[in-house]
């Protein structure tokens, strides 16, 4: 299949970027990134400057790959990262527009590569249980209902890719932050620090320059792991009870 690609090129953080047009020959079995590999091979053969994009595991779990494909983070297929998207979902003759994730808190570093360090800093602000190595009681001394374990797992399956931010008209990170808050708040192990955690993480999120949530649910729709906006509701409850709760905090 013949494809026309309009790809965002930007040499570095400071430079102004622009779209450039490429043509590439793909097959339906290829993954989207393999199609870009083929294009880069072509560019290298012509001694050009290959397109920078991030990727690693290519099995949809590391969260490294990003890019906005035809206006959608990770492309048109639901519950699919860019690396798991295959060309059989496109047609011969299609024009595909490829851009980086765009958000103030995710500055573009080169072409399709963005800086997502802000996510790390949010986790560092409180997205953990403070338990040192060797301090743990026997695993079965903490009983957890199957349903609770399931809810915690669903929230914990976030891959930290940032598609939620890229999808949000306000570039809000509420889905990412709430997934971590909820994962740990569901579990008894996370209860002790729950109140401190949610305040700190929300505070850090605001400091990073992410926008506010206006309930468009675009984040959930584009999340390749199907993280639910219910986590945002859970985080809001946690937050309110931590700020106005009667306990001494």
């Amino acid at each position: 299949m013949n494809l026309k690609l309009k790809i965002w090129r930007q040499p570095n953080k400071e430079a102004k970027g622009k779209f450039e047009v490429y043509e590439v020959e793909a097959t339906p079995e290829m993954s989207f990134l393999e199609m870009l590999d083929v294009l880069n091979d072509q560019i290298i053969e012509e001694k050009g400057n290959p397109i920078a994009f991030e990727h690693d595991c290519r099995e949809g779990i590391c969260g490294t790959c990003s890019m906005v494909i035809n206006g959608q983070p990770h492309g048109p297929m639901g519950l699919t990262t860019t690396c798991q998207l295959h060309m059989r979902h496109f047609k011969d003759g299609d024009t595909i527009v490829i851009e980086p994730f765009r958000a103030t808190a995710f500055p573009v570093l080169k072409d399709l590569v963005v800086d997502r360090d802000s996510f790390d800093r949010i986790i560092q602000s409180g997205g953990f249980v403070s338990v040192g190595t060797g301090q743990a009681p026997d695993g079965n001394s903490i009983l957890i209902e199957q349903e609770v374990a399931k809810d915690a797992f669903d929230a914990a399956s976030c891959i930290g890719c940032g598609a939620c931010v890229a999808a949000c008209p306000n570039a809000s990170a509420m889905l990412f932050v709430s997934a971590k808050v909820a994962h740990l708040a569901y579990l008894p192990q996370g209860q002790v620090e729950a109140s401190k955690r949610v305040k700190r993480m929300v505070h850090q999120m605001d400091r990073e320059g992410f926008g506010n949530c206006s309930n468009t649910y675009a984040c959930e729709a584009e999340c390749p792991k199907g993280i639910s906006v219910e986590n945002i509701a859970k985080m809001n409850r946690e937050y309110f009870s931590s700020v106005i709760g009667s306990q001494k905090k």
Binding site: E34, K47, A52, I61, M77, G132, L143, S157, L184
Partner: protein, 666 residues
């Protein structure tokens, strides 16, 4: 000249680690604050080590080439993590886990290390639960287990099909906590390109900032490598695209012995190759073999009909299917260890019975499991267990709950629905048991250089059992290295802070710079990837699932020719001082050439079959691997000699607690 001293503590097997822990020299808290440790890699081993060392009070600098420490390839492990908890009351014990691991490794690993691994395995589960890792639970709220290939107890803990992800996020969060407390200085997007030795001690590394291209040296009292395996030497593997051997290989070039490099694990259940553009292979968790049955058609006419598309696998009647694992290995059936399952798949495909266009695929079929589970569900819900449609529906639900995400991955990649038609699978390189040689302290032959996780060679012998990689990575990082690193650091408490202004650091930076400039200066005509693909094919064809003398010699010759061409015809675009993934790849592929050659040398010298290493010259009458305990019960630790032949050092393996037996799964 390298001298191997495994430093195995005295005493009975069960007492060694206990005694060691109570007799090792400690470092007082006020001194820990003055001692710096560099940890390279932030996968399970690296992140858990960096967090644990920082908790102890050491000053830690942690490095990853990823944009975040949460992305290492440990994240992709699906199936689970073993631990000798015996929660299922099915007869598991530390000894049994130890024994299974030694046997599974085909008696080519060190007893003392493996026993210690089994001992600390239970602590890992406790630690991860306390961190909030959402393991699967039983109805009563206790932890659930499943069984895995090569063993007869259920000791595998899991979090759906994403166990590696959940464990890594747990370790990442522990690491993040230490970063926030100022105990760990985190360097993202920094790739280690060399090791710096000062007065015969590992005192630092040279990194390249992958965003700016800046080369910089970092100094510390000791260095820990947690940089993973070298499976990507094969180009197509289940490893992530950026996995590489460079950190470990650079250490090898500085004098660290590389042990058993030819021991590579070929995983039996991966999605088969579909085209030449293919960039990587995707694993389907081994846990699928609990419920999936592996088969190919008995008749060649059926094989051909399937390839042409005139027949579907579901059209083949039961009697015309060859469930070859169940036939050949009735005791373990579909749950034989990975090396045995992989070779059996290769055998049936070599016979011409492979079921896709390339002839390199076998079926993994869930129809039986769907039926079995469906019947049980219908029965327990008081519904009609003879109603075929209902049974199918209920059974599908059970299978979905167990393996849903794996089935999704499969469907995304192949476009086939595995609930309806059997999966097609084929073996692919997955894990490397070989790695830097380490002693009981996990210290390499270079003083002050430690190596943990997949990057070292220590625990899996010639074959790793399923769900043991996560166990080893976390055991090393959480519970072993934090103790054993004291063996070195307790002698360093009077050493002032190491700085990077000595001539050694400057020299190594210059060497790295020259190396990269040389790659950029070739300006040839072929892309780095094209060389990597060709290298991978050479290693796969001649040093893959099955090896023989003639092939290995031919492979080595082809590799040398290709390496020569690489240095005269590779084209690396761009500059040194910029974000340049092609340059990163070129420097990694350059190291893969040297490692690849050493793998061949190692495979050639080991004239026996053991675990993942199958030498065609050494097989039994019924084509099973034939070990040669008399001549090869040792670790082959290689000293790199540059242009000269690598030098072999042997660490004899002494088995005081298990009897060496032919590994039979029949």
């Amino acid at each position: 000249m390298i001298k191997l001293d495994a430093k195995i503590p005295e005493g009975s097997l069960a007492e060694k680690w206990k005694k060691y822990k109570s007799s090792i020299d400690l470092v007082a808290p006020n001194n820990k604050r003055k001692l710096e440790v560099i940890v390279v890699g932030t996968g399970l081993a690296g992140a858990s080590a960096a967090a644990s060392l920082a908790e102890l009070g050491y000053k830690v600098k942690a490095f990853t080439f990823h944009d975040s420490p949460r992305r290492a390839h440990s994240i992709a492990a699906q199936g689970g993590i073993n631990a000798a908890k015996n929660y299922q009351n099915d007869g598991d014990s530390v000894y049994r886990l130890f024994y299974d691991t030694i046997k599974g490794g085909d008696y080519r690993s060190r007893e003392a290390n493996v026993y210690r691994l089994a001992e600390v395995s239970a602590n890992i589960i406790d630690q991860c639960v306390a961190q909030g890792v959402p393991f699967a639970r039983e109805y009563g709220g206790t932890l659930d287990n499943r069984s895995f290939g090569g063993v007869q107890v259920s000791r595998t803990f899991y979090a759906r099909g994403q166990t590696g992800q959940q464990l890594l996020i747990g370790a990442y969060q522990a690491l993040s906590r230490q970063v926030s407390l100022g105990n760990v200085e985190m360097y993202n997007r920094h790739e280690m390109l060399d090791l710096v030795m000062v007065e015969n001690k590992a005192r630092g590394i040279v990194t390249r900032n992958l965003l700016t291209g800046e080369l910089k040296s970092h100094a510390a009292h000791c260095v820990v490598l947690a940089t993973g395996g070298y499976g990507n030497v094969y180009y197509l593997s289940t490893n992530a695209m950026n996995c590489n051997v460079s950190a470990a290989w650079r250490a090898a070039r500085r004098g660290a012995a590389m042990a058993n490099p030819c021991f590579c694990q070929i995983h039996p259940t991966c999605i088969p190759v579909s085209g030449t553009y293919q960039s990587k292979l995707t694993l389907m968790s081994e846990s699928l073999r609990n419920d999936g049955r592996v088969w190919v058609p008995k008749k060649m006419e059926d094989v051909e009909a399937i390839r042409e598309g005139s027949k579907k696998p579901t059209d083949i009647p039961e009697d015309d299917r060859d469930y070859y694992l169940e036939r050949k290995y009735p005791a373990f059936g579909n749950l034989v260890p990975r090396d045995v399952a992989s070779r059996a798949a290769k055998d049936v495909c070599d016979e011409g019975r492979g079921v896709n266009k390339t002839g390199l695929a076998v079926y993994l079929d869930f129809e039986d499991a769907i039926h079995r589970y469906g019947k049980a569900e219908a029965y327990s819900a008081g519904k009609d267990s003879e109603d075929g449609e209902l049974v199918r529906k209920l059974g599908t639900k059970v299978v979905e709950a167990k393996y849903g995400n794996l089935f999704e991955i499969y469907e995304k990649i192949t476009g086939d629905n595995p609930y309806v038609t059997p999966m097609r699978i084929y073996p692919a390189i997955h894990y490397t048991m070989g790695g830097l040689w380490v002693d009981y302290n996990l210290e390499t032959t270079l003083p002050g250089l430690f190596c943990i996780g997949e990057a070292n060679f220590s625990d899996h012998g010639a074959n790793r059992l399923g769900a043991s990689a996560l166990m080893q990575g976390l055991a090393d990082g959480y519970f072993v290295l934090p103790y054993t690193i004291g063996s070195f650091l307790s002698k360093e408490i009077k050493t002032p802070a190491i700085t990077d202004d000595s001539s050694e650091f400057k020299r190594v930076i210059e060497e790295v710079k020259t190396r990269l400039e040389n790659l950029l200066a070739v300006k040839g005509d072929r892309s780095v990837d094209s060389f990597h693909r060709e290298l991978g094919l050479i290693i796969w064809d001649y040093c893959g699932m099955s090896r023989n003398e003639e092939g290995l010699k031919k492979g080595r010759k082809l590799l040398k020719e290709l390496k020569k061409e690489f240095y005269s015809n590779v084209f690396v675009p761009g500059e040194m001082n910029e974000y340049n993934p092609e340059l990163e790849k070129a420097s990694r592929v350059a190291d893969f050439f040297e490692l690849g050659e050493l793998m061949i040398v190692d495979a050639l010298h080991r004239e026996e079959s053991c675990g993942g290493h199958f030498r065609e010259e050494s097989q039994t009458e019924d084509n099973e691997a034939k070990r040669d305990d008399e001549n090869y019960t040792y670790v082959a630790a290689w000293e790199w000699k540059g242009e000269e032949e690598p030098l072999l050092h042997k660490e004899p393996l002494e088995f005081e607690n298990v009897e060496l037996k032919t590994r039979s799964y029949k």
